[in-house]
Amino acid sequence: MSNEWPLWEVFIRSQHGLAHKHVGSIHAPDGEMAINNARDVYTRRNEGVGIWVVRAADIVSSSPGDKVPLFEPANNKVYRHPTFFPMPEEVKNL
């Protein structure tokens, strides 16, 4: 059965959330049923107000091996981090 039902990744926008968050995956033959299945598996307790389903095969992911070239440059360049600016008193919690 699972060879006929592709894997879908499920993203839910929560009640008070601005962005859809990845919550897990399900199997379904097509998008319409994927939405239904996602609703039944992942929104049983009013978790969401919106659902996205995406075929897992359509997602392109960075690979763990890319970690250094992709993310390392940010760590050793202090001038990329806005930590040298005195903040005015009036601006709180920025």
């Binding site: 059965m1 039902w5 399900i26 199997h27 379904a28 033959p29 319409e32 049923m33 239904n36 299945n37 609703r39 039944d40 598996v41 049983r44």
Partner: protein, 250 residues
Amino acid sequence: MSDKANYVRRLGDNALILSQRLSEWCGKGPALEEDMALTNVALDLIGQARMWLTYAGELEGKGRTEDQLAYLRDAHQFNNLLLVEQPNGNYADTLVRQFFFDVWHYFMLEALCSSSDARIAEIAQKSIKEVTYHVRRSADLVVRLGDGTDMSHKMMQQSIDRLWMYTGEMFAADALDAAMSDQGIAPNLSGLQEKWLQHVEEALAEATLQSPAAGAWMQSGGKQGRHSEHLGYLLAEMQFLQRAYPGASW
């Protein structure tokens, strides 16, 4: 007043018995997602049954709680439709039973939303949100499986032919239905039947399935407490705990 209590109890019994049937699928569904969906529907229905039975107990005025109504009545004291007590059978049987019931349930609740009884209207408004999804899901699956493989088509047709005789009872008005309709508490069942038939026939046509012939023989009796042999077994399991340990709670 006792008329209204009996009528509300019927509504509760339908939801309670179908919920119990669907619960039997827990862990046995044909796919994880289906398993969750069926038990979700079961939980929706048990919630609705609780509201109806609580209200029925209040209307009755004998101090019976939802639990007493659910667990301490015998088969002949239940007034659910015969359709909902039918065994789960295979997945097609369960699905067709669900579809027939969901469509009836939706139109029933839609009418009850404007009941002259405020509490009935309130429960119906809460329930119809859930049932709107139930009917969308079961109709979708009927079309997929009816218009699916040769095997799924054949199984769906067999289930339709097997369960059709239990659909007439949903629209066969008895004295209680008539009284409730006269008082504006409940809908006129013949109007409901037209909507149901139209919706069901459209879905079956889309599913390439045959609707049984109009005027087919229909079985009835559930609303009057005359049930198939299946209900007794269902209750024996459902009520075991309260029967063996009266008043047990946790």
